[in-house]
């Protein structure tokens, strides 16, 4: 796979690619409830399935970058996807698209309402009683699709199962996601050295 060829292949052919990217992420930002992870299934559908701007496997690599750096996960994901599709302009459009809906909504709340009125609004809280369990389902779905695109089989399934179990047990240091990112990177590097040595022999 040639890297330059690969990049031009994923560029959107539309007339205003950055505008399309911005609008896509505006949609994503407006419907992301419950943080960056809930975004994944919407991004997958918009960017991978609908517009075919990136491959599913590349998306997984971008998620790895976004998760291993500090900052707001949703913005990191948008930045890395935007950069992959359209370079600097792309990541500015994607990041702005993600930020603007929540910025505007919170600003309106701050100007016209108090947090208390929202918190005790019966209609809004009942709507969110329904949305919250659905958001969990929206995070379970990409677990399966990404496990497929990462080609996880019986030999490798202990890695995600182990990582998920240890993190969700909340064991302090052992449950820090950054630890597993580092371990995964080191493990991948060692595996690369090992397979190269075997190849040389």
């Amino acid at each position: 796979m040639d890297s330059t060829e690969n990049i031009s292949a994923v560029r959107p052919p539309e007339k205003h690619p950055c505008l399309r990217l911005f609008l896509s992420f505006l949609k994503i930002g407006a419907f992301t409830f419950g943080g960056g992870w809930a975004m994944i299934s919407i991004i997958e559908r918009e960017i991978v399935d609908k517009h075919h701007w990136i491959e599913r496997e590349d998306f997984l690599d971008l998620l790895a970058i976004a998760q291993s750096l500090p900052g707001i996960l949703a913005v990191n994901i948008a930045t890395s996807v935007g950069d992959r599709i359209r370079g600097f302009k792309g990541c500015v459009s994607a990041a702005l698209g993600t930020i603007i809906p929540s910025f505007v909504i919170i600003l309106l709340i701050a100007i016209f309402l108090t947090p208390d009125t929202i918190k005790h609004n019966h209609v809004i809280s009942s709507i969110f009683m329904g949305i919250r369990p659905a958001v969990v389902a929206l995070i379970v779905a990409p677990v399966i699709t990404s496990a497929r695109s990462a080609k996880i089989g019986w030999k490798t399934c202990w890695i995600p199962v182990g990582v998920a179990t240890l993190i969700s047990l909340k064991l302090g240091f052992l449950s820090n996601p950054v630890l597993y990112i580092v371990l995964g990177a080191v493990g991948g590097y060692l595996h690369f050295l090992y397979s190269r040595r075997k190849l040389c022999k």
Binding site: P70, F103, I127, V136, F192
Partner: protein, 200 residues
């Protein structure tokens, strides 16, 4: 030091040292904004609650809100919409920009060395870990506040049904057009269901 500089400094710090996104960052945010007395503890809890009830990343929500409120609460002279607007723009930019440039730089670096076996090897090791991270996010959200906030059994059962139904809608192709439903449509349906079940 001017309150606006303090806001920028606090949110750059949050953007640079907040790993793990969302709720993992909350204690850091709390330290930075409740500590200097910009907002009260109670107000902070309210902002977190509102962030859960509005779309968008919780980090952005809190930066926008606190940036708006903090200048006025520190100095009454700043208690106007325009100073608040300035504060929320500055705080939001400050929390986003550090990681924006970090992501930009590292994805350029990785793209430049895309061909190298080392980078390929590293990513082949990272992919299964990322699958595990997504799974852990899902498991961590399967908690009482999301499924059973009031401790009532029929609500727990209803919420589990909503979750399973949402999964089926988003994962399996629909029988009439053999396409999966868009996740946004699933969120809208779930919100409607929530209103019909709990709101009426």
């Amino acid at each position: 030091m001017n309150i606006f500089w303090q806001l920028i400094r606090a949110y750059i710090k949050i953007g640079l040292f907040g790993f793990g996104g969302g709720y993992a960052m909350l204690s850091l945010v709390e330290n930075e904004v409740v500590g200097p007395g910009w907002i009260s503890e109670q107000m902070f809890t309210d902002i977190v609650a509102v962030s859960q009830m509005t779309p968008g990343p919780i980090g952005i929500n809190s930066a926008t809100y606190i940036g708006f409120v903090a200048p006025g609460s520190v100095d009454p002279a700043y208690a106007t919409i325009w100073w608040g607007l300035l504060g929320s723009c500055l705080a939001t930019l400050a929390v986003v920009l550090p990681s924006f440039f970090l992501v930009l730089y590292s994805s350029h670096f990785i793209r430049r060395h895309h061909e190298s076996g080392v980078i390929k090897g590293i990513f082949s090791g990272l992919r299964p870990v990322v699958v595990g991270l997504i799974a852990s996010a899902a498991i961590l959200l399967m908690n009482a506040p999301n499924f059973n906030p009031n401790g009532i059994t029929w609500q727990l059962v209803t919420n589990i049904i909503i979750c399973v139904a949402a999964f089926c809608l988003v994962y399996f192709p629909m029988p009439w057009n053999h396409k999966k439903l868009h996740p946004i449509i699933v969120i809208v349906i779930a919100g409607l269901a929530g209103y019909l079940i709990y709101g009426l």
